[in-house]
């Protein structure tokens, strides 16, 4: 291949004559699909500090948005109405040091290119879990970003006018859960839930706290709650001890708490079954089904991955069935070795490598729902038929360090 290129021009002329592959244009840039399928999922990555958009049907990566120097996985807020995506992040003028601006960067959801930003108070919270640090309220106009300095507060952003509305101090209450057109909920150290309602301008109109319903020290609920109804105020949280707490942040005059119920029978409890994982709950609103990653372990193993996925009918408050979590580690290794699915080695790996389980689960909101299971132990995402619980396909190389799985 000792080619002399005296002149590209000449070469191309010569080429036209006999080339089978036609010359192509440079400069092309792809767009995301005009309509995002219901099986589209954001996969955050803590090391790359990005979220990548995947089509769980084709297993293809569609694009990505990157953040600043936050510790947290990037959980983009997707505004379908305005066809925008928001990423709140902390930046430094010299990457790791220097001047710190926090900003909500606004991306066009078609081009995934930045089209604007709103500078935030330099107080944005950042944590390893990355759960409930930001929310787009259901009027698709106000975004809220949780601050922790460690004093708790919330920044309110008007995404239509692209301006900071203001900051709301929230005392002993943390995290943000969307709960209506202009309402969000929070969890408080005293074991209560707080609901804050904004007025049409985005400033605080009212706030109300629920009765105490959990013990932050001895039976805390995890931050990884699931929303029971799109656009509404009803959420379900699970406590370390496996109790399900249903809260309606939108109830008047104050957030209402239903009587709790247990995710585990006495026998299961005795057997050491516990909830656990970075993102251990998923909920399919249309069918009312709750998916919960569970494992056998000691107390304080609330970050251990789940070896089984238990499915509940929330209305009936009963466990319906068990889905075995696939051996993600074996799948990833098989792929890394470029070995075929179902081959001898695949079988050997599945059999020989301990199944470390999954620590993140999400379900798509449509009527043919998919379950996505991920493990921080394996660079692979398993895609299952949520109704049948069968493995449909795998998404390989989703990133370097999977954070969370988020449906837009």
């Amino acid at each position: 291949m000792r080619l002399k290129i005296a002149s590209i021009g000449l070469v191309l002329v010569a080429a036209a004559a006999f080339a089978d592959v036609a010359a192509e244009e440079t400069g092309g840039v792809a767009r995301t699909p005009e309509r995002w399928s219901a099986h589209t999922v954001w996969v955050s990555d803590m090391l790359l500090r990005r979220s990548a958009l995947f089509d769980a049907d084709s297993a293809a990566m569609l694009g990505s948005v990157y953040a600043g120097q936050d510790l947290s996985p990037v959980l983009p807020l997707t505004n379908a109405k305005r066809r925008e995506v928001y990423v709140a992040s902390t930046y430094y003028s010299r990457r790791t040091h220097g001047e710190r601006p926090d900003a909500l960067v606004i991306y066009d959801s078609g081009t995934l290119a930045p089209v604007g930003e709103v500078v935030l108070p330099p107080k944005k919270a950042s944590n390893g879990g990355g759960v409930a640090l930001g929310a787009l309220l259901d009027d698709a106009r106000f975004a809220v970003v949780f601050n922790q300095t460690p004093a708790n507060s919330v920044s309110v952003i008007d995404v239509v006018e692209r301006r900071l509305v203001g900051e709301i101090a929230t005392g002993g209450c943390a995290l943000v859960y969307p709960a209506g057109p202009r309402r969000f909920g929070m969890l408080c150290l005293d074991g209560t839930a707080l609901a804050i309602t904004l007025d049409a301008s985005g400033t605080e109109a009212s706030r109300a706290a629920s009765e105490k319903f959990f013990d932050a020290a001895n039976a805390p609920v995890t931050e990884k709650g699931v929303r029971l109804a799109p656009g509404g105020g009803r959420w379900l949280f699970a406590s370390f001890d496996g109790t399900a707490h249903e809260i309606d942040f939108a109830a008047q005059p104050a957030p209402a708490v239903k009587p709790p119920w247990s995710l585990f029978s006495a026998a299961e409890r005795a057997g050491g079954w516990r909830i656990g994982g970075r993102q251990h709950l998923a909920f399919h609103a249309a069918s009312g089904r709750l998916y919960s990653l569970v494992h056998r372990g000691e107390a304080d193993t609330h970050k251990e991955p789940g070896t089984e996925l238990w499915v509940y009918d929330v209305a009936k408050r009963v466990k319906e069935r068990t889905i075995e979590v696939p051996n993600l580690g074996a799948s990833a290794l098989r792929d890394l070795m470029k070995l075929p699915v179902g081959g001898v080695v695949d079988w050997l790996l599945q059999a020989a490598l301990p199944n470390e389980g999954a620590d993140a689960v999400v379900v798509t909101p449509d009527d043919a729902p998919l379950l996505l299971l991920a493990s921080s132990d394996a660079p692979v995402i398993a895609v299952l038929d949520a109704k049948k619980g069968e493995l449909l396909r795998e998404i390989h190389e989703p990133g370097l360090a999977i954070g969370m799985l988020v449906t837009p």
């Binding site: 080429a15 840039v29 792809a30 995301t32 890394l336 190389e397």
Partner: protein
């Protein structure tokens, strides 16, 4: 360990030697299989056959490595270094959403096994987002040092883009080449 490594380190452009690494992983696979050939279940065969008809004019069959733009062995990749845009939301000819294609680039000359002809390939980088992190690939056929820019895949060609932050690389046919 090399799985580990491939994961870690192929993420970093310019470090990866994908082919040899893959061949290593393949070896490891054979070791695990006790050196036996690998009978496939129908599942695998079905998968292997998928996409066979998708080949573009003049391109090798898309179900072969030489015809798959998401494969490091794709015929156009003979002098590439980086993440394949086909795995990042783009394609071998288009950048992923939200990135800009570098106007300047390095070129390679790769033989198309389909027609046996040499083509001049332009490896335009896509820029403005950080490492894509998928389908890392390094091939050095005809690759030259940094003082020979148009032949060097070591260079961050995002130097010419709005943002110099490297995301992935394309492999665009400029035309057939005339060797002497």
């Amino acid at each position: 360990m090399n799985a580990l490594d491939r994961w870690l380190e192929q993420r970093a452009r310019g470090l990866a030697r994908t082919t040899s690494r893959r061949s290593f992983l393949a070896k490891l696979g054979v070791v695990l299989a006790g050196g036996a050939a690998l009978p496939l279940l129908p599942v695998a065969r079905a998968q292997a056959q998928s996409g066979a008809r998708a080949a573009k004019p003049g391109e090798p069959p898309s179900d072969t490595p030489a015809g798959d733009p998401a494969n490091c062995e794709y015929w156009r990749h003979c002098a590439i270094d980086g993440f394949l845009c086909s795995c990042c939301g783009g394609s071998q000819t288009a950048c992923p959403p939200g990135t800009q294609m570098s106007p300047v680039t390095w070129i390679g000359t790769c033989k198309n096994p389909q027609d046996g002809k040499d083509y001049i390939i332009s490896y335009n980088d896509c820029c403005g987002k950080d490492y894509c992190g998928r389908c890392s690939c390094l091939q050095t056929e005809g690759e030259r040092p940094v003082y020979f820019p148009q032949r060097s895949n070591d260079i961050n060609w995002c130097m010419g883009a709005e943002s110099t932050v490297y995301h992935c690389s394309t492999a665009i046919v400029l035309g057939a080449a005339v060797s002497e």
